[in-house]
């Protein structure tokens, strides 16, 4: 005998998928046709609940409590045995930059982007996608010397192989 919880689960499933049938011409009779598989492929919507980047676990590649030295670091992105790539893995990297008039040459935003690209190539050697980017002013603005200094953040994910 079917239990009450089984019916409840069915109803929950109905509600959970209520939106996924929009604009689909597949109906109950289509399931009995010889070409039912084509009907499923053509009519079944792509997974509509794909996780948003913000809902995924993200590995931060920096220590939020420690400021970057603001120097260019080298990564052996092409040396044998050093390639890193986990398909679908998500990371967040940041690099400082400065818009102050007295900013050092290596503090320009162009170099910050270059450093971020080095990190993306290092952790996703088979390719990546930038899921989002943002900029935040450096904390401890009580230090007037830090006014005009920022962090540039790249949130990225490794491509599927």
């Amino acid at each position: 005998m079917v239990k009450g919880y089984q019916i409840a689960l069915l109803l929950a499933a109905l509600l959970a998928t209520a939106d996924s049938r929009a604009n689909c011409s597949f109906d109950a009779d289509s399931a009995d046709r010889l070409d039912f598989a084509d009907q499923i492929i053509d009519c079944e919507p792509e997974p509509s609940a794909a996780p948003s980047p913000s809902a995924l676990p993200v590995e931060r590649l920096y220590d939020a409590a420690v400021g970057s030295a603001g120097i260019i670091r080298e990564h052996k992105v092409v040396a044998p045995g050093s390639l890193n790539h986990t398909p679908g893995a998500h990371y967040e990297a940041r690099e400082p930059y400065s818009l102050r008039a007295d900013a050092a040459f290596e503090e320009s935003v162009t170099f910050a982007i270059a450093r971020l690209h080095l990190q993306m190539a290092h952790y996703c050697s088979d390719g990546w996608a930038v899921d989002g980017q943002r900029s935040e002013p450096k904390r401890a603005v009580s230090d007037p010397l830090r006014a005009g200094k920022y962090y540039l953040y790249y949130r990225f994910s490794c491509a599927a192989r």
Binding site: M1, A13, L34, I41, E44
Partner: protein, 315 residues
């Protein structure tokens, strides 16, 4: 409820109800229909009564997962729900219908499950009173949902498509321990408004069968034709039949007028069969229709008459 249904229903429903990001790319959707009719059923003395019939109302889940470019996992799990009295099988309100899983790519699809045979699917809705009292299955054998079916369906090439299914008998004690104790196949051709198919069974439900199907859409008029020969697979069997079935539907805006007739001659004495159905559908929406019908079935010396009205809603 059979054990398979008990297993699937909570599992599939539970999985569908989970947040999709919880376990990766869950995909799929629920579909189904409720089809209820009130029928004045006259099946002879002592069986002249009104009935509320559920007419194969069903609930199913289906889905695809693209594993690689042009390679899909396809699944479908469908259950009949008995919306009239809540009793489908034993004391269960559910009964298993087509359930399958397969891999589909450019080469076609390899699949398996408990499913309608290629012969049954080749009918392509020539039967206009499907699931009602005038269903094609009251006339012709071969409307089989086969257990243990392993099948291959080709891609459609220039309108041609083929399916072949084998069914292990799983009964070695009686000489049915092979992979292909039963075989069903179909070859179909579609081009514009024309559909043609040849299908057959080899030792499916104890019968060998050949079926020819033709369907043509002539503007608002749809014509269908089936010819079939079937006989017992064993030499000492008592089935040897041949029959035909014709149908016509004419669409007038939201109303579709329908009629179908079929006859089977049997070489085994008093078991000739005939069926005649006439009726009309009134379309309320793409998903919903009202209908009325009259059906007269004759099986040997038994005459059955049905007069009914009903409603079908698909979701």
């Amino acid at each position: 409820m059979n054990s398979t249904a008990k297993f699937w229903l909570p599992l599939v429903a539970g999985a569908m109800a989970l947040p999709a990001w919880a376990a990766g790319p869950l995909d799929g959707s629920i579909y189904g229909k409720v089809n209820l009719s009130v029928v004045d059923s006259d099946e002879g003395p002592g069986s002249d009564e009104y009935k509320l019939n559920s007419n194969a109302s069903r609930l199913g889940v289906k889905g695809k997962s693209e594993l690689k470019p042009d390679l899909y996992a396809i699944y479908k799990a469908e259950f009949e729900v008995c919306a009239d009295d809540g009793i489908c099988s034993g004391d269960s309100p559910f009964k298993q219908r087509n359930i399958m899983v397969g891999l589909k790519g450019s080469y076609g699809m390899v699949w398996a499950g408990n499913h309608d045979t290629p012969t049954k699917m080749a009918q392509n809705k020539v039967d206009l009173f499907n699931d009602l009292d005038g269903d094609l299955k009251v006339l012709l054998d071969g409307e089989t949902r086969a257990k243990n079916m392993v099948a291959y369906t080709s891609p459609t090439i220039n309108g041609f498509a083929a399916s072949v299914a084998v069914m292990p008998g799983e009964d070695d004690a009686n000489g049915n321990g092979g992979l292909a104790d039963g075989v069903s196949y179909s070859l179909s051709y579609s081009s514009g408004d024309l559909y043609l198919a040849v299908a057959g069974d080899d030792d499916v439900k104890g019968q060998d069968l050949l079926r020819l199907v033709a369907q043509y859409q002539l503007q608002a008029l749809q014509l269908g034709f089936i010819y079939q020969q079937n006989e017992s697979a064993q030499d000492d069997g008592d089935v040897d039949e041949d029959g035909y079935f014709v149908s016509a539907a004419y669409k007038l805006d939201d109303i579709t007028l329908k009629a179908q007739y079929g006859s089977v001659d049997s070489d085994s004495g008093d078991s000739d069969k005939q069926t005649l159905s006439i009726g009309a559908d009134y379309k309320l929406a793409s998903s919903t229709k009202l209908y009325g019908f009259y059906t007269a079935n004759e099986d040997g010396s038994d005459d059955h008459d049905y007069l009914g009205v009903g409603m079908e809603h698909k979701f």
